[in-house]
Amino acid sequence: MLTSIKTNEFRGDKSKELGMMYFRVALILFGAQLLMGLIAAIQFIVPGFLFELFDFSVARMVHINALVVWMLYAMIGSVYFMLPDETGVETVGIGLGKLAFWVLTAAVTVVVLVFIFIQVGSGTETSIWLINEGREYLEAPRWADIGIVVVVLTFYWNVFATYMKGKQTGIMTVLIADLFALAGLYLAGMFFTDNISMDQFWWWWVIHLWVEATWEVFVGALAAYALIKIIGAKREIVEMWLWIEVLMLFGSGILGLGHHYFWIGTPEYWWEIGALFSALEPVPLVAMFVHVLYDWGKEQGKAKAEGHPGAVMNNGPAMAWIVTNAFGNFLGAGIWGFFHTLPQVNIYTHGTQFTAAHGHLAFFGAYATILIGMMYLGVQYAYGVKKLTSTFKSKMAIFLIVFGVLGMTVALTIAGYEQVLVERAELGGGWTAFFAAQDLPWYIQAQVWRAMMGVVTFVGFIYLVWDLLTIGKHAKAAQAAAE
């Protein structure tokens, strides 16, 4: 992965090269996310750990921001990677794209350093502009927000101009519309109000309409592209499925926003709207799961019927991660989301570890998986490998990461149940109720398991990095030897 730029294996495919640059930073930030998660997990068990030095709030802030930013990096990388394949032309503004990459990376570095070393500011507008906006997931200070908007506009212009110049496939049309919404929504999180209800109302426009609408459609488009690329799925079928997915994802996800408006001061009618539409949100995720597996089976069957032995896919690890995505999206976003989406349940689960359980499996299952799959596609093309097969390291990576995240999710779900039943149902919330639940033996046990499963995930991540750094070179050498 590292040598791919130095040796310029892309033979002039600058857009893919740019995509790889984004993948590299994404991977570093992914590592940072996991490290911060480990610190925060330890703080749950050992409260004095790094107290007043590197508090939970700091670790947690960097944990979730590194998550969002690595995913955005990997998403931008994926788009630059697929752009020439889909449009049939080279991306128009490579120089500008590279400049935007360096500007974004410099800005992210500064923001992270400020988060880590300055941490908090005084109660002034200046703090919000320069240090920390203090709104979960959108903590980036305002100057960085503006920088992000500029960089994203540059990116969008690049994609749009390339799209207009080249072939306009269904996948690209979906992406163009989706990225427009995704970029535009960020603006909803860029203002200050002293009304906390109004604050949370618009905050959810960014958070929900990203992760439960536009990001999901983005994943649909990526999966469509990857299926064509990896198993040679038929474009007509893949694109038809993509439109059905868009219909169902936006049809349920846009008004599903209502399930965040149950308790923030917003009117009661969101109970019904939020419940109905968010209850439908798992439907497209089932469809996506069926679609991936169906296409895989179909192409494999066709190859067998035509007398081609062996696996139909040309990239084993990428396919493994994409299938994990299909299942993880359904399980994490669909099932774990549905668990607590009805207001009758949510009044007790809202703001407990239940949410954390859902958050972990959903972000991993729906997004991390497919973006890792895209990185494997990147490696395959960077080294000019015709058929990339999984190594021991690839298998260890996927096994340990999936096992670790599932373990964390189950542990957090148990912690959540304890909290819901004791803190909320039995004791009715409040300061003493909160700590009464935090001291329950089963709650503490769950937090210990979560930390251990976090370590498992981290070991898996080390295997992943090791594999991404070496698999391409080895496969290329093996290919050269065979030829």
């Binding site: 941490q119 109660g123 008004l255 570890q353 409040g430 700590f435």
Partner: protein, 223 residues
Amino acid sequence: MANKKVSVWTDIQFWRRSAAWVTGFATILLIWLSFDTIGQITMGTNADLKNGVDKRVPAATVINYHIDYKMNKKRGHEVPVIGEKQLFFGKEWSPKDAEALLRLGKLTEQAKNCMDCHTLLGNGAYYAPDLTKAWLDPAWQKGGPMQGMTGKNTVEEAMAEFLQHPSQYPTHARMMPNLGITAEEAKGLVAFLKHMSSIDTNGFPRNFSKTVAQFKAGDTNAH
């Protein structure tokens, strides 16, 4: 006749159009509902408070009133009840001063990153207690452990004292770190918390700090 439609169900154009229509319709509905919601969650005015007009989010001057959280039989859950006038930090705040104090509180809440340990309106991190109705928490009232610990005589003074020196008043092995909150910022934060407790959250959190006896009697523990 290769292009003849076999069935509408396998027709890309049909699905593309359906996707566009459904997305458009959902978006329009969301925007329409948002207009209604924004109207309902816009802060009320000082006059509303004086005239007893219930607003989902009252004006900043709600800090001059006693706030309770009581079961509303008709709605089937607890709602904030704004009562008689009550001094806040020993005085009644003018609309201008109250707004400035709330603003300072909200800015401080963001700058100190409260949401990455606590939840506000149930959103945030799950490392520390939910603050939605913190102002009404029995622990902070007279005779409650938090007020007792700080040695202060009012909820606001106890909260402000705690916020400035949190690690001097440990309530649990998991403590709040010292975030360098000044006396003024602490006042602002308490105003922010008091204001938040007056927001109509459709009954969240349910049965706030209640005992079974109180639940049956329809009474409340919040003050």
